[in-house]
């Protein structure tokens, strides 16, 4: 498993309907209408904002190598070859990028600092160089500890119990348990670098980093159902996205709820109609009870879905040829609603 397999999975889901650039935006978590719509259309939300630090050149190099290896074909759009399909592998990634968007790393940083702090304090060592340099992380841990009633040794044991239970019960692989614990520093113990883990586990460093990332997602997904994990739950505060809408879409939503029409909102907000339409697509993708009936009929939806099924495509231009009476906005809405219904 590697970045290759992630890219291959995404490219397959997009079945040749998007450029490499579109995939780059997905991985980086670009908050544009197009990208947000793409992840919804093609069911790749779990990969959204997975690698916010991915550089364009790194991405480009990976693609070039994959093309040279015959895994993909790039011809403005990206196609996965038969060899690429074989190489994708059957193991499924269990990312949840959509919900964390890079903030899972803050959970990892807090965990590392809390473990280091408690490990030192319980051993009577009060002077140590914090392994996390970021001020917000340090402040977070400081205030967390300030609000604790029990002594540091008990707290340390509680954290160990919580971590142990979480690592066992949250369906991590054994490899992931090793990786997560190896990234922890404490009294008399240093953490391992990615390179060192790669060497000792005989897996590439890049892959180990992805496993670690996935492990953070799995842990964060697991925690909300656990009433008996106060410390870990506290560490996870704010790591999950609380609003899925862009700010601008949120403003549109408010006006829509107050009864304004699409056109009215556009003129009120002094924005282009197409922008407001983007917002509505975003709303449709994220709201539980989006009133799609105000824009399309049930029959229109069924017709479009049938075309999607028959033609095996979601490309708007092709669908528009089949249903010229529908606007692009209506078509986009119908495709989004298909995801939501299924």
């Amino acid at each position: 498993m590697s970045l290759d397999s992630i890219l291959l999975t995404i490219f397959q889901r997009l079945h040749g309907e998007r450029s490499a650039q579109g995939v780059y935006h997905i991985l980086r978590g670009k908050r544009s209408g197009q990208t947000l719509q793409d992840v919804e259309y093609y069911q790749v939300k779990s990969y959204y904002a997975l690698l916010p630090q991915l550089t364009a050149s790194e991405f480009q190099q990976t693609l070039e190598r994959m093309q040279a290896d015959g895994l993909i074909l790039i011809n403005e759009l990206v196609y996965v070859t038969a060899k690429g399909q074989m190489a994708t592998g059957s193991e499924m990634w269990r990312f949840n990028g959509w919900n964390y968007r890079g903030r899972e790393r803050e959970f990892g940083r807090r965990l590392a600092l809390l473990v280091q702090t408690l490990s030192n304090l319980r051993s009577g060592e009060t002077m140590f160089m914090p392994i996390q340099k970021e001020l917000p992380t340090q402040q977070f841990i400081k205030s967390l500890l300030r609000n604790q009633l029990s002594n540091m040794t008990n707290l340390s044991t509680s954290l160990r119990k919580e971590l142990e239970q979480a690592l066992i019960q949250s369906s991590l692989s054994d490899l992931q348990r090793t990786i997560v614990t190896s990234r922890l520093t404490g009294y008399g113990f240093t953490a391992s670098t990615w390179e060192q883990l790669a060497e000792s586990l005989n897996v590439s460093a890049k892959t180990i980093q992805l496993y670690y990332l996935e492990a953070l997602h799995i842990l964060l997904d697991y925690l909300p159902q656990q009433p008996n994990m106060p410390l870990l739950t506290e560490l996870a505060v704010g790591c999950r996205v609380d609003t899925y809408l862009t700010q601008s879409a949120e403003r549109t939503q408010k006006l829509f709820e107050r009864g304004y029409s699409l056109e009215q909102i556009a003129s009120l907000r002094n924005l282009k109609l197409s922008t407001i339409e983007d917002h509505f697509i975003e709303l449709a993708a994220n709201m539980d009870n989006f009133p799609y009936e105000e824009f399309v009929t049930k029959e229109q939806m069924v017709t479009v879905w049938r075309h999607v099924e028959q033609m095996q495509t979601k490309r708007l231009r092709l669908l528009k040829e089949q249903c010229p009476e529908l606007s692009y906005f209506q078509l986009r809405l119908i495709i989004i609603m298909e995801r939501r219904e299924s």
């Binding site: 630090q53 940083r109 590392a112 473990v115 408690l118 490990s119 319980r122 009060t126 002077m127 140590f128 160089m129 914090p130 392994i131 996390q132 340099k133 970021e134 001020l135 917000p136 040794t153 340390s156 044991t157 954290l159 160990r160 971590l163 142990e164 690592l167 054994d174 348990r177 090793t178 997560v180 614990t181 190896s182 990234r183 922890l184 520093t185 404490g186 009294y187 008399g188 113990f189 240093t190 953490a191 391992s192 670098t193 990615w194 390179e195 060192q196 060497e199 000792s200």
Partner: protein
């Protein structure tokens, strides 16, 4: 004596290191002071200790965020909670919070850009200030190797008749640079405390090789037969990774360290090096600040540093415990060309200056103009500063002077590597210090090196620590 008591109680030391007491006494008497201490010789204590003997806050102006964070961490380690760093890496909210609560702190670290913002300056000037500290003060001088135009604006801060004393700290400054520090910081009849640059514990070596692969070979052989802990300075991130991998293959615990690694990785590597788990670090010049490790036995350079100051700072990380340390500079004929290329890349040429100026004149935004003229961030800030004060012709002249200074520094380094007289003597001369070659263990040119202490014994090869199961590891960490 009072000073001794504070030294012991607050910092746990029995005695001062040379020069510290003089600086502290002068500063407590309210006198501006310039302290030139070689790296790792207890510069920070010169402001930390008097802070506890005076009322009011200490304002520390520090040019690098990494350096600032390190100083803050260090103070916190000594149980000082009233410390804050305000720099451009804080979010808007954090910055506002820090600024609005400034009065509760004892130590306030500020970047020069931040310090010179109008509202920050006003807030600072309302505080009861014990004294100011300008860290890395040599950055103020165009003659210095890491000139920071932002520093020049500090003079506005220190021009007032009534102001708290200023302590200028630096690890390296020749006469010309000290003059610049005094002039630009508007220091008044300052006390100048210069600790000798020469570190008797360090012995110097130059090894001439034919090409890059010969360097790799020399390093592999050297590391197989001699002891660490050590640092190898290389020219690029890529090379740091590559060389570390080669050394690791030889079974020597090594990691690369550079600005391209994520912060977590850098912290882990530092920690492992300090704990003695890593024997060698292959680093770019990003490595050094904030490394509190006294027992570094070797520093090897496989590229030519751009200035004697940079070189002396980097080798100065060796042997801080006072025991012997060996430093080696590997040189091949093409190295000076390479360093020239890197150094001049950041300096704008005449055409770039003229073009940038004309863009600004026609109302183009600074950032855009810099991009169009192909200027680096450092270069554009440098030009902004000069263009504010001088006509463009004059600016070109100024930049040409800087160019000449850099050229001179590189020439000095070239003359160092090509010298056949005492290396220690030669290096110290660049800083205006006249010393005699050491009787023993001086340098490869004096031919009086005794390297027996460097030889690695068979037994010193570290045992692999057994890898723990993950739950065992958790138990050991947290109980």
């Amino acid at each position: 004596m009072e000073l001794q008591k504070v030294l012991h109680q607050k910092f746990g030391y029995e005695s001062f290191r040379p020069g510290q007491q003089e600086v502290i006494t002068e500063l407590l008497a309210g006198r501006d002071t310039v302290a030139i201490f070689p790296t790792g010789m207890g510069k920070s204590l010169c402001y930390q200790l008097p802070a506890y003997m005076l009322d009011g806050v200490v304002i520390i102006i520090s040019p690098l965020v990494a350096l600032m964070e390190d100083q803050v961490a260090n103070l916190r380690k000594h149980k000082e909670k009233r410390v804050v760093a305000i720099n451009s890496f804080l979010s808007r909210k954090e910055k506002e919070l820090a600024l609005s609560t400034m009065a509760q702190y004892k130590f306030i670290f500020l970047s020069p850009e931040m310090m010179m913002q109008q509202h920050v300056r006003q807030l600072v000037q309302q505080l009861p200030i014990a004294f100011f500290v300008v860290d890395e003060a040599h950055c103020i001088s165009e003659w210095g190797f890491d000139f920071r135009p932002d520093y020049l604006r500090l003079k506005e801060l220190f021009s007032f008749t009534e102001r708290a004393p200023v302590l200028a700290l630096t690890a390296t400054a020749n006469k010309k640079v000290v003059e610049d520090i005094i002039t630009y910081l508007r220091l008044r009849n300052p006390h100048i405390q210069r600790q000798p640059m020469d570190r008797p514990a360090i012995s110097y070596r130059i090894v001439h090789v034919d090409n890059e692969s010969a360097k790799t070979e020399w390093i592999s052989e050297r590391l197989a037969t001699t002891i660490g802990p050590g640092v190898i300075y290389v020219a690029s991130r890529k090379r740091a990774d590559e060389l570390a991998a080669i050394i690791r293959q030889r079974g020597i615990p090594t990691a690369s360290y550079h600005g391209g690694k994520e912060q977590d990785e850098r912290s882990i590597i530092q920690e492992q090096f300090i704990q003695g788990e890593l024997e060698w670090i292959c680093a770019t010049n990003a490595f050094g600040m904030g490394i509190h490790k006294d027992d570094i036995r070797q520093v090897i350079h496989e590229h030519l540093p751009a200035t004697p100051s940079a070189y002396i700072q980097e080798v100065g990380r060796a042997g801080r415990d006072g025991d012997k340390a060996a430093v080696t500079l590997l040189y091949s004929e093409r190295d000076s060309q390479k360093v020239k290329f890197i150094v001049y890349e950041d300096l704008p040429d005449e055409q770039q200056i003229l073009y940038y100026h004309s863009l600004l004149q026609s109302g183009t935004a600074t950032l855009l103009a810099a991009e169009q003229a192909g200027l680096s961030e450092i270069a554009s800030r440098l030009l902004d500063y000069y263009l504010e004060q001088y006509e463009v012709e004059n600016v070109i002249r100024q930049i040409q002077q800087i160019y000449q200074v850099k050229e001179k520094h590189i020439a000095e380094m070239e003359s160092y590597v090509k010298s056949d007289s005492c290396l220690r003597e030669k290096l110290m001369q660049f800083f205006g210090e006249n010393i005699l070659p050491a009787e023993t263990d001086c340098c490869s040119n004096c031919q009086n090196l005794d390297d027996d202490w460097l030889i690695k014994s068979e037994a010193s090869t570290k045992q692999e620590t057994e890898t723990l199961q993950w739950h065992e590891r958790l138990h050991q960490l947290l109980g």
